[in-house]
Subunit: 342 residues, 2 copies
DNA sequence: TTGTACGCGTTATCAG
DNA sequence: CTGATAACGCGTACAA
């Protein structure tokens, strides 16, 4: 591949001049500029970012560390990050921890395993000399320790930070839950069960809070017996559906669309239907919610926005601006046909 | 960030010695090795890939150009690529063309628009000096021109190549379609409608071929009137469902799970059900197919495998091995509950 | 076994 | 306006 030096030689000028021309420094005569540009085009010269990075001590690159690129929230978050980076003339480099494919859910309890993958990833980013890092969570929700030895400005997307100097962009779980439960209440429901996620998970806890708040605002007693913890997947909530439905309820607030899918499955097998025999709402607005029959009313997580806000946040930090510890991205109600008006 | 030179100075040895130690060249005494390693660890030295890349003229990096990272097939393909790269000690850098978010479907007819995004992406990869490129398609199916001016070894994943020196990894559309239609025939169906994708699309054409083949093998006449072209989404096939269902058929072969979703919607609204009143099969095995009621029988596209095969293919090419023009990854039948046995 | 010196491709500095 | 030259951090002949 042809280099700047060769271009210079071919034009009979110095490398400095070629560099100046390429970088639009206006201390160059029109004559030489044209001549050089002609050769550049003709020979298909392409700047070498590697050399440039070395010289400038700046790579114009943002590193993205994703816990799992196949997690449904991740691609859109990354898309948001990339969109903003492109606008700003930054490149992006993505690392994929592949947490799930490595260990399924086993790693969750094991910090040592987790950091055995996480630390090298950050080191890689350091070696690449990225100018900043966005960590995109997919499974873990609390990041206890983010290696800061390298002083690379970093932000967390879709995870709650436990470190002062690593701020985070999260969704407003509590308000999202409050809104969707309020929606049920407005439709006349007062006996509302909950198909919740993992009990110790922070999203679960915050959404329970939102649920309680909505009940409180409507003067409805909170009955812990109506809350059923069933992980985030379809299978467990399918198994738990019978018991929950046997209680005296008219609606179920599912903490994920997949949970709702489990309930739908149970209903289907028993000749019942959401939006007719009982009301169901979900959370996430995954694509599946639009393909369920009837289509599921749910809360949209604005994943693109999470990504965008996260990098903007990061750029602010890189420029030395004062930044808050946390930004909350609101959720939006997607009203479909799974809720019955009483 | 601390450099090799500084480590050397601090240890009272030369940079060459430190470099040799770090790279495991065995011309170093155990004594100095230990001393140097101690300092390296203590000071948190991290190799500078930028400098190394410049010096070695090799970046150990594979570039991934994705048409759309939010396309449902893309993340898993990339995951497969990354898995193999990691095994081989290669880094990965991803570019996202964001075709859909830029222009929705408008670009499809406009090669100029397309290449206005595609060319710079390849140039970027060239500037980064990646050692090879995997192009991951999401929308386009025929890549007519892949910029080869930079002589970077390249392969296409999930797209059909039109260029000799750019081979591709695709799925076996024809055989996949044949298999699933054969499945219907085995269940006793002979009057099988088709909810097809875009008429001019290569996947559509190949799958029609597979459909015809299955009919032929079973001695069933091919009736073009039973084929309905409805794009790849849910809406058009919802609109087309009524007409198709009014024909004398007992089963529908949908060319995508989303198409099947449109048919399901129509059925639901008319009090009918797949797997009871009519048989439906899909294609893709998107997650939605597992959440439809009843769950959809469909063909699984092995996306992970596409990614893996594509990079392995690329590595072969980089090593100068002889490679075929095309590799076909087989599809697999996922048998669920949307097909009725006659 | 260890050190010296050069070059990879670019940009910044300064002198002409 | 243009050119010579010195970095940037690392790897590697070659010399010691």
């Amino acid at each position: 591949m042809i280099t700047l030096k060769e271009i210079a030689k071919e034009c009979g000028v110095s490398t400095a001049t070629v560099s100046n021309i390429l970088n639009g420094k206006n201390k160059v005569s029109e004559e030489t500029r044209e001549k050089v540009m002609a050769v550049v085009k003709e020979r298909g010269y392409k700047l070498n970012y590697v050399a440039q990075g070395l010289r400038k001590q700046k790579t114009q690159t943002i590193g993205v560390i994703a816990e799992d690129i196949v997690q449904f929230t991740t691609p859109e978050i990354i898309e948001g990050i990339m969109e903003v980076c492109e606008e700003r003339g930054y490149r992006t480099i993505v690392q994929n921890l592949r947490l799930y494919s490595r260990w399924q859910d086993l790693w969750f309890d094991n910090e040592k395993m987790y950091y055995s993958v996480m630390d090298p990833a950050v080191q890689e980013m350091a070696s690449i000399r990225v100018d900043g890092i966005v960590y995109v969570a997919g499974h873990a929700r609390n990041i206890h320790r983010f290696p800061s030895e390298y002083q690379i400005p970093s932000v967390l997307a879709y995870a709650y930070s436990q470190e002062k100097d690593v701020p985070s962009v999260v969704i407003d779980d509590e308000e999202g839950a409050r809104l969707i439960v309020e929606h049920l209440i407005k439709k006349g429901h007062t006996k509302i069960g909950v198909m919740a996620g993992e009990q110790e998970n922070i999203h679960t806890k915050l959404r329970i809070l939102g649920y309680q708040k909505a009940l409180f605002d409507a003067g409805i007693l909170y009955n812990p017996e109506l809350v059923c913890y069933a992980g985030w997947g379809k299978e467990l909530s399918y198994g738990a559906a019978e018991e929950l439905l046997s209680k005296d309820i008219t609606a179920i607030f599912c903490m994920s669309d997949r949970n709702a899918g489990g309930v739908y499955k149970y209903l289907f097998e028993n000749g019942k239907q959401a939006g007719r025999d009982i009301s169901i709402v979900g959370f996430d607005d995954e694509m599946i919610s639009d393909f369920m029959t009837p289509r599921l009313t749910t809360m949209r997580i604005d994943r693109l926005q999470i990504g965008k806000r996260a990098v903007e946040f990061l750029f602010d930090k890189m420029e030395g601006k004062e930044v808050p510890d946390e930004i909350k991205v609101p959720c939006r109600l997607i009203d479909r046909e799974s809720v019955l008006e009483l």
